[in-house]
């Protein structure tokens, strides 16, 4: 595959250089499999192949971009032409440069077992998630869907400065959405897991987690409004870390869209809080040898004991801030330009076990689910999200709660983190343990 993509990349760059522009070719080839199981039968089986080229040209500091899914000579030529004619309309910007060639870390991202496993075996994994969930409790009444997915990809980046980067990798995942029901109530449960090595998938863990999530929420009630200590489940904590990731994004910072602007070296969170962005983890879903511009993968301590050390940069934002790119250029596909994004974004675990976080709380809220997290505002830091969970009374978990909202500001949230447990878990590219917030505002009745 490398040879095929390389040939197209060379043609693209030759065409661009011939027309007197600097250029970058991003080529992608991906194979996707997804299996969706309902009641033991394969409801949907999806298999797909996709290839594409994204071409970025820079002429006199002006950038143009075009993409095509057709890699024929004619289509490639047209795309180069489109990118060049578009570049005329963009603003001249001295910080628009292509990265230099580099040496890449040696990280193994391809799992032979995933590639060798038969379709039947993968279907069986998906079925076993459903079985595991059902075996937990009689009250698991509906399996909305459960499934297995995997993706195998090749990425190739080359630019007119001589940079050449190629990687191939794969990953796999399982998930389940289900409903628990008793005489009075119905509640949803969900769990998922994505891994680099297919043998690390645990149907038992995912099935059980989803079932417990649904069952413990049955017959939940609302509570009186007030301020109280809050503990976030690892999954919920990763939802919040998504907002933190957008606040340390250099693009947002430079455009005045982050409350972390000008805060490097300052105490932006409590001493309990350490956050790492690490693209080099062999087991990380968001790992790679290089970012989407071909800059080598790196490990960065973003916040250590509450002090903000760095923003996440791509080549452009780094150039603007006169620093070195942190290798955080990211693009969803060949269809768009690179922007800035987190890789494996980790809230570091602490030493306490999960239960000791609850000890000593007279009246508090253990959050297991948040709704509407995408409505939180990374610019102002304000958030107000729907939540469900379990009430904490006199140091123990008591009754399930739903129909409440938790609200506050991220600045306050970060300063109020007063414990992190040891139960670290990844959900996709975000990982966290359970964390405790000293006090948050809860709205109920």
């Amino acid at each position: 595959m490398e040879q095929i993509l390389r040939t197209v990349g060379e043609k693209t760059l030759n065409e661009a250089v011939h027309r007197g522009v600097e250029a970058e070719a991003f080529l992608m080839q991906a194979k996707e499999l997804s299996i969706e199981i309902v009641e033991g039968r394969v409801e949907t089986l999806k298999q797909a192949e996709e290839t594409g080229l994204g071409i970025r040209v820079i002429k006199d500091g002006r950038t143009g971009f075009a993409f095509t899914s057709d890699l024929s000579d004619k289509a490639v030529k047209n795309a180069v032409q489109d990118a060049i004619s578009i570049s005329v309309f963009t603003t001249q910007d001295e910080y628009q440069i292509l990265p230099e060639k580099a040496v890449y870390p040696d990280i193994q991202l391809f799992d032979q077992d995933t590639a060798a496993m038969s379709l039947e075996e993968k279907i069986e994994i998906a079925r076993s998630v459903e079985r595991c969930a059902k075996s937990v409790d009689m009250r698991i009444s509906i399996i909305e869907r459960s499934g297995y997915d995997d993706l195998e990809y090749c990425n190739l980046i080359m630019n007119s400065k001589g940079l050449y980067a190629y990687e191939t990798g794969n990953f796999s995942g399982i998930y389940i959405f289900l409903v628990a029901e008793d005489d009075n109530d119905a509640q949803n449960g969900f769990s998922a897991m994505s891994v680099r090595k297919v043998k690390d998938l645990s149907a038992a863990l995912v099935g059980k987690e989803a079932a417990i999530n649904a069952i413990r929420a049955l017959n939940a009630r609302t509570i009186r409004s007030g301020r109280m200590p809050v503990i976030l489940d690892p999954y919920v904590a990763t939802r919040f870390s998504g907002i933190i990731a957008s606040m340390v994004n250099a693009e947002a910072v430079q455009k005045g869209k982050s409350m972390f602007a000008g805060k490097i070296g300052e105490q932006v969170a409590s001493p309990w809080c350490t956050i790492i962005d690490d693209a080099t983890l062999e087991e990380g879903i968001a790992s790679g040898l290089f970012d989407s511009e071909g800059v080598p993968a790196q490990k960065k301590i973003v916040i250590e004991n509450g002090i903000l050390y760095t923003y996440l940069h791509n080549t452009y934002t780094a150039q603007k801030d006169r620093v070195v790119s942190t290798g955080n250029a990211q693009r969803g596909s060949f269809r768009g330009l690179s922007s800035v994004g987190s890789t494996n974004f980790i809230i570091a675990p602490g030493r306490d076990n999960k239960d000791s976080l609850i000890d000593g709380i007279d009246r508090g809220f253990y959050v297991t689910e948040v709704m509407g997290m995408h409505t939180a505002n990374p610019i102002s830091g304000d958030f107000s999200v729907g939540a469900a969970g379990i009430m904490i009374e006199n140091g123990i978990l008591t009754y399930p709660v739903r129909g409440v909202t938790i609200a506050g500001n991220m600045a306050e949230f970060l300063q109020n983190i007063d414990a992190a447990a040891s139960n670290f878990r990844f959900y996709g590219g975000k990982g966290s343990p359970s964390i405790r917030i000293k006090e948050l505002s809860i709205a109920g009745e």
Binding site: V42, E43, T44, L45, K46, Q47, A48, E49, E50, G52, T63, G64, F65, A66, F67, T68, S69, D70, A79, D82, A83, I86, S87, F89, T90, T91, D93, I142, E144, V179, D185, A186, T222, S225, K255, G256, K257, R335, G336, M371, G372, T375, N377, I379, S380, D382, F383, S384, V385, G386, R402, G403, V404, T405, I406, A407, S441, A443, G444, E445
Partner: protein, 467 residues
């Protein structure tokens, strides 16, 4: 576009014994985007994409294969994979598939298709809107203006012998303004879009949108924290229909109903909302953002009454779910692109206008929250619980609109909220969005008149009066 006879050949090739449906969906897309931030045109791009998705259905199980290789070989290879998913033995149909053109009842006339309008002109509109927003106040710190258009040509052919060709163009405009004062940052957002070409600008004033977004971000700087607690909520028609879409619409999609994942299951003919409430899904509302001539299975777009005077009348169906219930598709099988199988989706969804005067609704409210603009939301269809972000909210006191509030969310339960509606205005306001379901986004429009809900939980950081 692909030759019809080749499509017939691929459908024929994919068919095997016992298969219920074979369908091929071909898409040829041209898209462009203009993005202005920091007072400069930052990103402009354009692209072309072609792809086909082949779907095989047997006993309600689906195999879906897609590829961007549209050569005969590429299609036959994809077709083989799809056929093999059911271990089907090749089977020759008694006679070749005869593809017959389907007729739509609703058509959209495009005036200025995206490729007919020069980049220079589109960029000019974006720059003007950017200027307009920045002139609003010296407190404006950032303005983002974006314009995106897409033109798709679609072909669908299936083993029933149906064939359609469709031409679809959409334009979408966005403005986001950020203002700052004394360390407080607030944002304002406006969007507009339609199934149309650039004639959209005859209906929508882009500069005016920009000014509105900017003014709103400035106004919110002086907003007070939203109250927390249960209270009456008046939703202005300007808020659009996000609530009806999320809190009610999704629960009426037949796939969720059939899986037992909807609170509206087994409720046909039952009173599920206050008698003043009627809910309609209508794909044929001019060039609204959720309109279409054909859905993505080739069924003509139509108008479906879901709730009439509070009584549940119908669910939304695609081909498969309709067959399961012994019904016909309501033309709601939609997909994001050739990379996705169609699923049941809404089009333009609305609460029908009622009889009350919108101003009187507010005047008759002693204390509560007025919602002028909704943000995003999420709903749990199984139990009907929802939560929404309020983008623009005001406190109502003694029937009068008081100061703006920030950081409010509304949470409640869909059926309960619909049952709690006690006033329905005679106005109607639209909002547009991209609705996500099963990992696919499709354009939709939602609408509602001014309505009052007797009680909802407002989540804010300030405690409500009396609490």
């Amino acid at each position: 576009m692909i030759d019809r006879s080749l499509l017939a050949e691929v459908v024929q090739f994919t068919y095997s014994k016992g298969i219920d449906l074979v369908e091929i969906y071909v898409e040829e897309k041209q898209a462009s985007n203009i993005f202005c931030e920091d007072d400069q045109i930052e990103k402009v791009y354009s692209g072309r994409e072609r792809g086909a998705g082949i779907r095989v259905v047997k006993d309600y199980n689906t195999a879906y294969v897609y590829t961007n290789d549209l050569s005969r070989n590429g299609l036959i290879k994809a077709a083989s994979i799809a056929r093999n998913a059911f271990h089907g033995e090749p089977f020759t149909l008694p006679q070749p598939i005869n593809l017959v053109n389907q007729e739509a009842v609703f058509h959209i006339n495009y005036q200025r298709l995206p490729e007919k309008v020069a980049f220079e002109e589109k960029i000019q509109y974006v720059l003007q809107a950017n200027q307009a927003a920045r002139l609003v106040s010296r407190l404006i710190r950032q303005v983002t203006v974006a314009a995106a258009d897409v033109h798709k040509k679609i072909q669908i052919a299936n083993s029933i012998g149906e064939y359609i060709e469709d031409d679809r163009s959409r334009v979408r405009l966005l403005v986001n303004a950020v203002s700052e004062s004394k360390g407080i940052i607030q944002t304002g957002y406006e969007s507009a879009g339609g199934v149309c070409g650039w004639e959209l600008l005859e209906q929508v004033d882009f500069d005016d949108m920009a000014v509105k977004a900017a003014e709103f971000s400035v106004r919110m700087l002086s907003a007070k924290p939203a109250p927390a607690g249960r209270m009456p909520v008046v939703m202005s028609s300007e808020a659009g229909g996000t609530m009806v879409h999320e809190a009610c619409g999704h629960g009426l999609e037949a796939d969720l109903v059939q899986k037992g994942l909807s609170v509206y299951r087994n409720k046909l003919g039952v009173q599920v909302a206050a008698p003043c409430v009627s809910v309609i899904d209508d794909a044929t509302m001019g060039n609204k953002y959720g309109s279409f001539s054909f859905d993505d299975e080739g069924t003509p777009g139509q108008r479906t009454v879901l709730i009439e005077d509070g009584i549940l009348k119908n669910y939304l169906y695609d081909r498969l779910t309709a067959q399961k219930d012994g019904r016909v598709s309501t033309g709601n099988g939609r997909r994001e692109s050739y990379q996705h199988k169609p699923v049941v989706r809404m089009s333009n969804t609305l609460i029908s206008p009622g009889r009350d005067n919108p101003e009187e609704i507010i005047a008759a409210t002693n204390q509560g929250l007025l919602v002028k603009k909704m943000g995003g939301g999420q709903v749990n269809t199984t139990n009907g619980d929802f939560v929404f972000d309020v983008q623009e909210g005001y406190l109502i006191q003694d029937g009068k609109i008081k100061h703006p509030v920030r950081g409010a969310t509304l949470s409640g339960n869909g059926p309960l909220a619909l049952d709690n509606i006690d006033k329905v205005g005679h106005d109607l306001g639209f909002s547009i969005g991209v609705c996500g379901k099963d990992g696919q986004g499709v354009p939709v429009a939602d609408a509602q008149p001014t309505i009052r809900i007797k009680e909802l939980t407002v989540g804010g950081t300030a405690l409500a009066p009396g609490n």
